[in-house]
Symmetry: C2
């Protein structure tokens, strides 16, 4: 029995789980939940995730939502215990604490960027463009990640971890405002390394590109129809 994976390719949290499934070569069936048709609000999906968001998985008896909880679960269950460079490091109390600290910090940063982009409701077509008064906070997030990555190949330790997927999908939100990554050389270098992952294009880059197009389309519509603002 393979894992049932419910996702939308434009959803950053879906991309995280998708990349974990690919990285760990976990057999799974991809079930598209079309957010643009509001399939997430229909009973077929709310029976799986009552919170009506993607992603979710069904693995045997377990139905699970929340991308980070799913990512951690997949690692705990399917990553070989004797693997040296684990996606989800767990070799010491302090190491785990620092890893978790960065996981929770990334959630704050993701929320900050979503607030700036005013993108909470993009899939229901109400995106009307970024809130310019929040730009300094969004810039501060990118500067924080730039510092975090400075002189390092990965976010945590010396190898690829879940944090690379979490932070990648966070900073990529800023593609929608045509961020000039030359201003963030450590982020740019790190992203260009991650691009070599065989699933990067399918599970991340393609979705980001489409997300940017959709965001811009909604913003343009909103600008030409003041009632929608």
């Amino acid at each position: 029995m393979v894992i049932e994976f419910y996702y939308h390719p434009l959803s950053p949290p879906s991309q995280v789980v998708w990349m974990v499934l690919k990285e760990l070569n976990i057999p799974h069936k991809e079930n598209l939940v079309d957010l643009l048709s509001e399939d997430n609000n229909k009973e077929a999906y709310t029976a799986i995730n009552k919170y009506k968001v993607v992603p979710a998985i069904i693995d045997g008896d377990l139905t699970l939502s929340e991308s980070r909880a799913i990512a951690m679960y997949l690692c705990v269950k399917y990553e070989p215990k004797d693997k040296a460079e684990r996606l989800y490091p767990c070799s010491g109390v302090a190491e785990i604490a620092n890893f978790n600290r960065l996981v929770f910090r990334d959630i704050d940063n993701y929320q900050t960027l979503l607030k700036y982009l005013n993108g909470d409701e993009i899939f229901v077509g109400t995106a009307s463009g970024p809130k310019e008064n929040l730009l300094p906070k969004a810039i501060a997030v990118l500067e924080e990640v730039e510092k975090l990555l400075s002189g390092k190949q990965y976010v945590f330790g010396n190898h690829l971890t879940l944090l690379d997927f979490f932070v990648l999908t966070t900073v990529s939100c800023m593609e929608v405002i045509d961020t000039d990554w030359k201003k963030y050389p450590a982020i740019a270098k790190w992203k260009s390394d991650l691009m070599k992952l065989p699933y990067f294009e399918e599970c991340h880059a393609k979705g980001v590109k489409e997300f940017v197009e959709l965001y811009k389309e909604y913003c343009a519509k909103s600008a030409s129809n003041p009632e929608r603002k």
Copy 2:
């Protein structure tokens, strides 16, 4: 050497860590970081937490921020491994996954309530009252927690866990708008049980009461001075 605990009693994330320290009887020194005097932005504290938020701890070589990461760390390090009813349950892969799912969901709910209360910047005196258009989302959070607690004594399993502290500090945010808890009998019952914890008053209730007063004071000031809106 005791743990150095940096906190502010009105900060919900500080309350979480404080309750964990008390529940596990961990020797610690309480260091007040006066947010109202912006001590969190001063070098003495930014050297401990560059993100300028409370809480943080120093435990020997480890300096740690992010309340949930601290709470988990304290349990992993100081909770007896043979204790039956652990604050941070870890007895099975599926159990941990479900626990984590609720941890991440609670963060979403906390953010939703903060957005409604417009309380992000309360400590710098810019609170101007709730955003009424977001009230339905805030109500939905309370209804979700009401369902979660229905027929149960605790949020997770049959005993007190970190999730009770996380969810408690989340829903208590709604005290600032004089929420009628009679509408949420399961939450009311659960809270009245938690009130029996010997540290409940000191580490939670007192801070909530002062937070409510401060919020109302700022909102009143803001209402009488339109420029501050």
